[in-house]
Structures are given as C-alpha cells and as structure tokens.
Symmetry: C2
Subunit: 204 residues, 2 copies
C-alpha cells in the first residue's frame, strides 16, 4: 500500500522537480534545501521535511544530488505511470494544453483532441489529431481512456460533461469556470483559475 | 483591518460563487448548504462553516437567498476592487486567458497583451491590443499596472520575468512550468498545472 501524500506536498514536490530540471540543464550537481526554499520563498525546514518523505538516498555533505533527488520525486509521484487522456475542445486553451511541453515528462499522454467544429476536425496540433466529438465514446472504449481535460466554453461545459460521463469517462480535469454536476463515481478536479487569482491578489 | 481568509476557503468560496451564478441563470431563489456540498462532493458542515465567515444576512428557513449569498461572497473576496493586469505572451494560452469570460466579473481587468512577435503585435484579442513587449515598462509606469500574467514558453520565462521585475511589476501569475527567481518584493503565484494533475490522478 502506497503512503498517501497530501496535496500540498505533491504540489511542492512538483515545483522542486521544476527547479531540479533547471539545475540539470545548467549542469549543477548538488542542491541544498536552502536553495530550493529561497527560490520558492518558503522555509527550508519545510523543504527538508518534504524530501524526507521520498526515501531519497542522494543526500551528502554539500546537499542533495540533483539527479538522485529528481529520480526520487519521479518515483514517489509516479511519473513513470503513463496516464492517457483526451482534450475536449480544440480552442485556444485546448491547443495550449496540447502544446504544453511538460505533460509527457510527467506521465500525461494526450491521445487526441475532440471538437464539434467541422473546421477544426481533421487537423493536428502538436502531432495530435483533432477528432469529431461524436467519435469519443467509441475511441474511449477501444483505448480504455477515462481521463478527459475539459476546455470547452462555460456554456457547453455541463452538457459536454454529461456526454463524457455517458462515454464512461471517470476523471474530468475541468478548466471551465463551472461546477459540474456528475455522478458519485466520476471525479472532477476544478482548475479554479479565478479562485487562484483571488488568493494571489487578496492583499492587494 | 480585514480578516485574513485561508487560501482553501477562498478557493471554495469561488466555487460556491460559480454555483450561485448558475442558480441565478436558472432563476432559482434559494440554495441549501447540502446542495452546494453535493455538487462539490464535500461535507455540508464545511459549506456552512465557510459561509459563516461572510457575515451573510440572507439565511432563511429554506436555505440561503442566492442573490444575497452571491453578493456576500463578492464583498468578502473583493470582486469590486478592480485589478488591472497585463498578459505577457500572445500565444494560445495568452489568447485563451484574454478571452476568459469570467475575469472581469471577478475584478480582473486585462489592459493589454504583450509579445515580441511582429506578426502578432498590432492585433487585438477580445478587444484587447497586442503590444510590443518593449513598450511594457513605459505603459506599466503610466497606468500603474503591477500585475503580469506570464504565459510565455518555458525557455523564455526567466528572462521575461527579469524584464518584468525591471519594469516594476510586483505580482507575477506564472503559467510557465518554471520556478522563477525574483527579488523578495515580487510575489509569484505558480499555476502549477502538473502538480494539480498529479494530485488529481495520484490514486489512479
């Protein structure tokens, strides 16, 4: 049984991973908890506590071994476990996500985009095909994909979610500013952009 | 002195606000904590606790008065306080955010987009101009804008952030998967998409 890691820790570990990526690009071998903490403006005791969860062996006198620490994070967060997903909506946001470099590094594999706009269907974005939304149920069944990234306009979000639920999609990563009404066996992650903005700027 | 509200509460209140928006569209007058809780798959005691923070007066026998509750949330989270911002990068993500309907409702006012691509400069997206990034420092000074939404590709994120810091930008809402190195007086909110995805799909 895997140890459950809290959402906040997962979020921070992903950011440490970004930092380690940059260190590798710059050919830097070691990193200290203080260096990570300074970049993220958090306490270095927090960083050490998070890293302790990893069973990371790459600790030495001058800090952590960058490559080892990166591997530990990837192992703990399950980057190697490939998760296939569809993007629903080939508008600007859907296209941006289809082009997002980092997805595959983190185990997220975009199989295809779906839209109902005849002008978009048949095109490709970053080597991924844009397919007719009507073809989704069949393709979901054949490929066993149950993750959908929902980027349609607000007004179509609920009806599209209903359609996805019928197609046996079990995980909806929702970018529309709408709270979706879905059955209990379907999970929704709301990418609550306005909530984030309000948190960020609350004290301005 | 305003009461500090935790990030989690701000995030949930924003989602309640989305639900209330839908109720208003559907002409529904009352809402119960149970209805909100069911949609978000959280505990209704949590919903009541959050709403108690608002000093909301619109409570009655059949639940909360939708319009009153919506107003209370807007007041508490400061929707009326207009915050001007620039979008940096007029790619797919920048365009998607420029078109994002909800921003203005929440007090976020996009003044303009900036890019260094001559083909994009001079265009408009959702009635907002795309300007030469070189013009940002001058416009930031003239308009007193100190919030930037950073949507440039990963490889240009740090150098663009350095440029923004020099132009006296104090708040960077960062959509690039990079941890930015900025001075202490500059705040960064990392829109950590991969972290969110990993949290969402951790148990798959």
């Amino acid at each position: 049984m895997e140890k459950k890691i809290s959402d906040k820790v997962i979020s921070r570990l992903t950011l440490y991973h970004c930092i380690l990526d940059d260190y590798i690009v710059d050919n830097i071998e070691f990193i200290s908890s203080k260096q990570i903490a300074t970049l993220l403006k958090i306490d270095d005791s927090q960083v050490r506590k998070d890293i302790n969860i990893l069973n990371n062996s790459g600790k030495c006198r001058v800090g952590y071994i960058v490559k080892e620490l990166k591997k530990s994070i990837e192992k703990t967060l399950g980057f190697a476990k490939k998760k296939n997903a569809f993007i629903i909506g080939a508008g600007n946001l859907g296209m941006a996500l289809a082009k997002y470099d980092n997805f595959t590094n983190y185990g997220l594999n975009i199989i295809a985009l779906f839209d109902n706009d005849k002008k978009k269907i048949g095109g490709t974005i970053n080597y991924k095909m844009v397919l007719d939304i009507e073809k989704l149920p069949n393709l979901a069944r054949k490929t066993n994909v149950d993750i959908a990234i929902l980027t349609v306009p607000k007004a179509f979000a609920q009806s599209t979610a209903d359609f996805l639920v019928k197609a046996n999609i079990k995980y909806i990563w929702n970018f529309a500013p709408v709270v979706l009404n879905v059955p209990d066996d379907v999970q929704v992650w709301n990418e609550n952009l306005m909530g984030n903005f309000l948190q960020f700027t609350y004290n301005i």
